[in-house]
């Protein structure tokens, strides 16, 4: 078990559990909705809950997070309302994006969620610019971009790391290495043995961390956020994690990996380990944890109800918001 940092209050630890269990229950329900045909094109984040949870535990509303095609967990960890998220998945007018973005583009600027992005690696330069805006405006807010091991091979990451380093920008590059870019294994596609090692070429710290441990994530992200806030520049974090589902709804992950490998990671499940920590430290009882889980299930059910009962966008929404103004 990870040694606990002195900064992790029991309140924060419980928030982390509550966040992770909410993500998991949300994703399980979204999967059920997709299987029943009510939703399409989901990229499930089950298994990766600890990564954004450990990072976002250090963030404020005026810090920004930018994500990927697989970003429900980033959104929930950053505090986006799950009712509005579910409504967005249903394409409803009450969704975070008024039903115009869907699963791959959820954004809520008031919560500092500056958007999921469907193009692999595309958000990394944008996040770098968000950090630049903070620096130019003399704010101590930080920008965090999550991306996968697939994006680690995009030029956009390398250009952004270089830019962030020469300008000492307050940005965290957080790679969720879930071992697969769609069906392509990381050991095939990523030269060398590490994404984190690539930080060295850009003169910034590169850290590898157990992404299945919320506590380890919390520890590593805490240092990186503090560095960024202090004006000391960017950090690259490689969180080693695992996606339990396939890349999207219809693919069978066992067509490219073994059940033994899946079991290895499930034996190190981030939610289970957080539960164990809370119980062992006496932070919570089993009843407490069951109650939090039950609340998460109920909140997700309420989100589905909200989404079902919400109206679809009106037809004129098709052509609104293309521009702020056009002639």
């Amino acid at each position: 078990m990870t040694t606990i940092t002195s900064e992790l209050t029991s309140e924060k630890a419980l928030w982390m559990f509550e966040t992770m269990i909410t993500i998991r229950r949300f994703e399980e329900q979204a999967r059920r909705e997709a299987d029943s045909g009510r939703l399409r094109g989901l990229h499930s984040s089950i298994g990766q809950e600890a990564v954004p949870t450990g990072v976002c535990a250090h963030l404020r509303d005026d810090d920004y997070v930018l994500g990927t095609h697989r970003s429900h967990h980033h959104c929930i960890a950053k505090g986006v309302d799950i009712r509005e998220m579910m409504a967005e998945l249903f394409g409803k007018a009450t969704g975070t994006n008024k039903g115009k973005g869907g699963t791959m583009h959820i954004a809520d600027i008031n919560k500092g969620m500056l958007g999921a992005n469907g193009v692999v690696g595309s958000n990394i330069p944008v996040a770098t610019g968000v950090a630049l805006a903070a620096k130019v405006q003399g704010k101590d807010s930080v920008s965090v971009v999550f991306f996968g091991d697939g994006a680690a091979n995009q030029g956009s990451l390398h250009e952004s790391m270089n830019l962030a380093s020469i300008w000492k920008l307050p940005v965290l590059f957080v790679c969720e290495n879930n071992r697969y870019a769609e069906s392509t294994p990381v050991e095939y596609a990523v030269a060398g043995t590490s994404v984190a090692n690539r930080a060295e070429g850009y003169a910034m710290p590169g850290v590898t961390v157990d992404g299945q441990s919320a506590l380890d994530m919390y520890e590593v992200a805490g240092e990186a956020v503090a560095r960024a806030r202090a004006g000391e520049g960017p950090t690259l974090i490689e969180a080693q994690t695992y996606r339990y589902m396939g890349h999207f709804g219809a693919d069978d992950p066992l067509s490219y990996r073994t059940p033994e490998e899946e079991q290895y990671y499930k034996d190190r499940d981030c939610v289970d380990r957080m539960k164990a920590y809370l119980l062992e430290t006496g932070t919570a009882t089993q009843e407490d944890l069951d109650a939090i889980d039950k609340e998460a299930v109920e909140a997700v059910a309420a989100a589905v109800k909200f989404a079902e009962e919400s109206p679809f966008p009106s037809p004129e929404e098709l052509t609104t918001d293309v521009y702020v103004s056009y002639r």
Binding site: T96, T128, L132, I166, V324, S325
Partner: protein
């Protein structure tokens, strides 16, 4: 005072430079980024400051006045810094970002077409991206295929982007001011043949806007309409002068804005002259010229005495040789010939 203003014929470069200076004074949220935008980055301690002031000298003097925080030389890394401009815009700044030549869009198109263009729409109108991108276009100086394109048609294709093409110093200053005050992403296409130009209306020292999406009737006429954009407007004005000597009255419309396009001004002119020659330096296939032609054919068909005619380059890359390049570019002679064919 009136006398002094009347003689204020400054170059395109001067007009743009003045606009950016005034804009940065007006709004502290404006930052400028690009390759060699100042030049000799980081060497102030050796006495090297503002070595270039931008590849076209459009940003000369900014770094001394506004400092390194707001005037940023970038690495040659378009996906990185144009993407950073998008993010900075989404997070509250108004970046002016230089994409040195429009042909370089190929290495950063994702940031322009997937992020700048789409964020406002796909986020349900809740995030604005007030970035302005400026870029150099056009043939005429033997820069060959990758440094001589116009390409605004590509960007006009994308909902969410605004595209403007100044035709002289006056419209350049006014369009820069409008673009940087606009809340949408705007791309300004600067034609390299206009840089030293002092023609057109005098450029007031005060700030003024040339509205985005509004064409300008540069010369009134009654026999035929010539539409130009950017440098092609100058070609159209020269052609109109020659046509006048032949006894024809040509109206010249300076389109200025490729997206939004000012349909009304085009249609109004064609309904009057009943003939149109569309002049465009961008590639001819699926292009802005095709769009203008389609507009006229679809919405003014009954008024036309002749089919809409386009004068464009051939469907070819831009050649290097001094013999070949002029064959590529629409010239005054080609426009006059096309107009006479329509008129007669």
């Amino acid at each position: 005072m009136v006398q002094a203003q009347a003689t204020r014929q400054i170059t395109y470069i001067h007009a743009v430079n003045e606009a950016i200076h005034q804009l940065m004074e007006e709004d502290s949220k404006i930052i400028v980024m690009g390759e060699d935008i100042a030049g000799a980055a980081g060497r102030a301690d050796q006495g090297f400051v503002d070595a270039w002031g931008g590849p076209l000298r459009l940003t000369k003097g900014l770094i001394q006045k506004f400092g390194e925080e707001r005037v940023r030389d970038t690495p040659i890394s378009e996906a990185g810094f144009i993407g950073a401009g998008v993010g900075a815009a989404a997070a509250g700044l108004r970046p002016l970002v230089d994409m040195m030549y429009v042909g370089f869009y190929g290495v950063c198109a994702d940031q322009i077409t997937n992020n700048a263009a789409k964020i406002h729409y796909m986020f349900g109108g809740k995030v604005n991206v007030p970035i302005t991108i400026m870029t150099n276009i056009g043939a005429g100086v033997n820069s060959a295929a990758q440094h001589s394109e116009s390409l605004y048609s590509i960007f006009a294709h994308f909902p969410g982007l605004k595209c403007v093409v100044p035709s002289d110093p006056y419209t350049a200053k006014g369009l820069y001011i409008s673009a940087l005050r606009d809340n949408d992403p705007v791309i300004i296409f600067n034609h390299k043949m206009l840089m030293g130009l002092r023609a057109g209306p005098e450029v007031p020292e005060r700030m003024y806007e040339v509205p985005i999406g509004k064409a300008n009737v540069s010369r009134k006429g009654s026999d035929i309409t010539l539409t130009g954009v950017g440098y092609m407007t100058q070609i159209c004005l020269q052609a109109a002068e020659e046509l006048a000597s032949l006894g024809y009255s040509a109206e010249v419309i300076d389109l200025l804005s490729v997206s939004p396009m000012d349909d009304e001004t085009i249609l109004e002119s064609v309904k009057k002259t009943r003939k149109i020659v569309i002049v465009d330096e961008d590639y001819p296939r699926c292009s802005f010229a095709s769009d203008v032609s389609a507009l006229v054919a679809e919405q003014a068909f009954d008024y036309l005495d002749a089919p809409p005619t386009r004068v464009t380059p051939p469907h070819s890359s831009v050649p290097y040789s001094t013999v070949l390049e002029p064959l590529f570019i629409p010239s005054k002679e080609k426009v006059v010939a096309a107009a006479i064919a329509v008129l007669e």
